[in-house]
């Protein structure tokens, strides 16, 4: 009896540590976002807001074009997700299913792309975007982000395509489908969970990226969230409650994504095992 009790307690303890580690920073920002300026500068600091206020959220929208940043991030993340999925699903199908000499070498080449530091690509890409007049545009980010997620998406999709029984495809071709028709009507619907997983990973990768966004899109109308959030700080002032409110709003989309798709995300990350 006694030992069962301690085992249960140990489990609670373990759960408490994991949950606190994962949620505390977000929770702290949430609490800060409801504090008034007066309360924030009180000493000793308070943990829970005494007089919760929405003023910081108003300020977050007033001081910077937050909806614009959100929209930019969404466009860039969705755009690069669509392009990445298109490219990687075609490549993955070829690698997983078709007669291809040296398929492993090709897959290795695609995965090796993730060994190239984005920072090193940043300098020449900056030059290219500059000469193509693409600085301060959505394309300046959508194209490079594609390469950011291409390796993991291809890897995830190859493993999904390999699990689809070949007979289904052959049956479709006997019934008069062309090979591309079979790909579109049979393989794609069956691989949908894999496509979904790959899509989420590439969405999050693009959503999180900071360096290229900071370097290529300096105009406010094309700034993405991670860069936009940094703009709340003045030269001397750090309006923490406002920044916290903006962070809370900025985190909502990704929290929704992982709330809904958590199992997909975990399975995708562990098949790929790539990219932090």
């Amino acid at each position: 009896m006694n030992s069962i009790f301690t085992a249960k307690r140990l489990r609670w303890f373990a759960a408490a540590i994991v949950l606190a580690n994962g949620f505390f920073p977000a929770l702290w920002i949430l609490l800060t976002s409801f504090k008034t300026e007066v309360e924030l500068t009180a000493k000793p600091i308070t943990y829970f807001p005494h007089a919760p206020t929405m003023a910081n959220y108003m300020a977050a929208f007033k001081d910077q074009p937050l909806p614009q940043y959100l929209l930019n991030s969404l466009i860039v993340a969705f755009g690069s997700m669509v392009v990445t999925l298109f490219i990687s699903s075609l490549a993955a199908y070829a690698i997983a299913r078709l007669q291809l000499p040296r398929r492993n070498l090709i897959l290795t080449c695609i995965i090796a792309v993730s060994m190239f530091p984005l920072v090193t690509l940043m300098v020449p890409l900056f030059e290219i975007m500059r000469s193509l007049n693409l600085l301060n545009s959505y394309w300046a980010l959508i194209f490079p982000y594609t390469v950011l997620s291409l390796p993991i998406c291809t890897l995830v999709l190859v493993s999904f395509f390999q699990e689809i029984p070949r007979d289904l495809e052959n049956a479709a071709m006997i019934d008069g489908c062309t090979r591309l028709g079979a790909l579109w009507r049979v393989v794609v619907p069956l691989a949908a969970p894999g496509v979904f997983t790959a899509g989420i990973l590439s969405f999050v990768n693009a959503w999180d990226e900071f360096l290229l966004s900071l370097s290529f899109n300096s105009a406010a109308s094309f700034r993405t969230l991670p860069v936009g959030i940094q703009m709340y700080q003045g030269e001397f002032a750090f309006p923490w409650p406002t920044i916290s409110a903006a962070l809370v709003i900025a985190m909502i989309p990704v929290v929704i994504v992982i709330l809904i798709f958590q199992e997909r995300v975990v399975s995708g990350l562990t098949t790929g095992g790539i990219k932090g």
């Binding site: 140990l10 373990a14 759960a15 540590i17 994991v18 949950l19 580690n21 920073p25 702290w28 920002i29 800060t32 500068t41 000793p44 298109f86 990687s88 075609l90 490549a91 070829a94 078709l98 007669q99 695609i110 792309v113 993730s114 060994m115 190239f116 530091p117 920072v119 090193t120 690509l121 940043m122 300098v123 020449p124 890409l125 900056f126 030059e127 290219i128 194209f143 594609t146 390469v147 291409l150 090979r179 999050v204 990226e209 900071f210 360096l211 969230l225 991670p226 959030i229 940094q230 900025a250 985190m251 929290v255 994504v257 992982i258 958590q262 199992e263 990350l269 095992g273 990219k275 932090g276």
Partner: protein, 305 residues
Amino acid sequence: MNAAPRYMEAPRRSWLDRVSDPSEKVLAWMLLTPAIVFMTAIVAYPVATLIWNSFHDVRLLAGQSGRFVGLENFALLMQDAQFWRAVRNTMIIVLVTVPGSLIAGLALAMLANMPFKSRGPIRLALLLPWAMPLAFVGLIFAWFFHSEYGIVNDLLVRMGFEPRIWFNSPTLTMMAICIATIWKTSSFMALILLAGLQTIPASLYEAAEVDGASKWTQFTQITLPLLVPSMLVALIFRTLTAIQSFDIPYSMPGPGEETQTLAMYIHMNAVDYLDLGYSSALAVCMFILSIATTWIYLRYVRGDK
């Protein structure tokens, strides 16, 4: 005029047929084309430009756009104290946060692997840090370590220590940067290791239990060796991302440019000074660092098996 009418000719595959129903091998290469085009345009060509630039004087602000200078950029870099400081800071981040996030991730994975009734909240707690942009993490931790109103100093005072002005000292700033980085990256590590832990058959532990092995022996003799493969993959990528550290150190600036990383120095030279030659030489250094790291890991993996 006197050629036979079209319909009399033997049925030939038009180009349209060939495109819409190609042979398998042709189709394979057709499907690979977009990937190859993108990899060429966004990886291969830039890398070639990078190497070309690093041997040229491309200072756009000074109107220099491509005089060949041989190894001059690299010679400059060897004597550049700011470069060496950036390399040192980057190496500190690599050497502290890679083992740090492995240990923290392993601890989190072991804790999360306990038999809970519902796994949902635990999984979310591991996913949230992974999904949070690094730049946000930097800002949040900068707020934690705030000298006046930060919770870290608050806790230090409550435990009877002196509060610190974290971002006035390069050493303390580096500590804060490393803690933020470890927090952000350990949960991804934990997810990978958790997947690895769940593939270890329970029978191994039962057998060890029968043989009277202690929990610690079980951990070092069963758990760790079987986790090595999943650890190695995660470690390679963790190390490569640590070499590129930018977002967190950028959002948690220390005094002056004392805590600048190599990536930040490259960014400064390229975007602020528009000195593409010098920044390319710096980028080549980072490139070499990444390749050397991968090579060492791969050698270790091969040597191990």
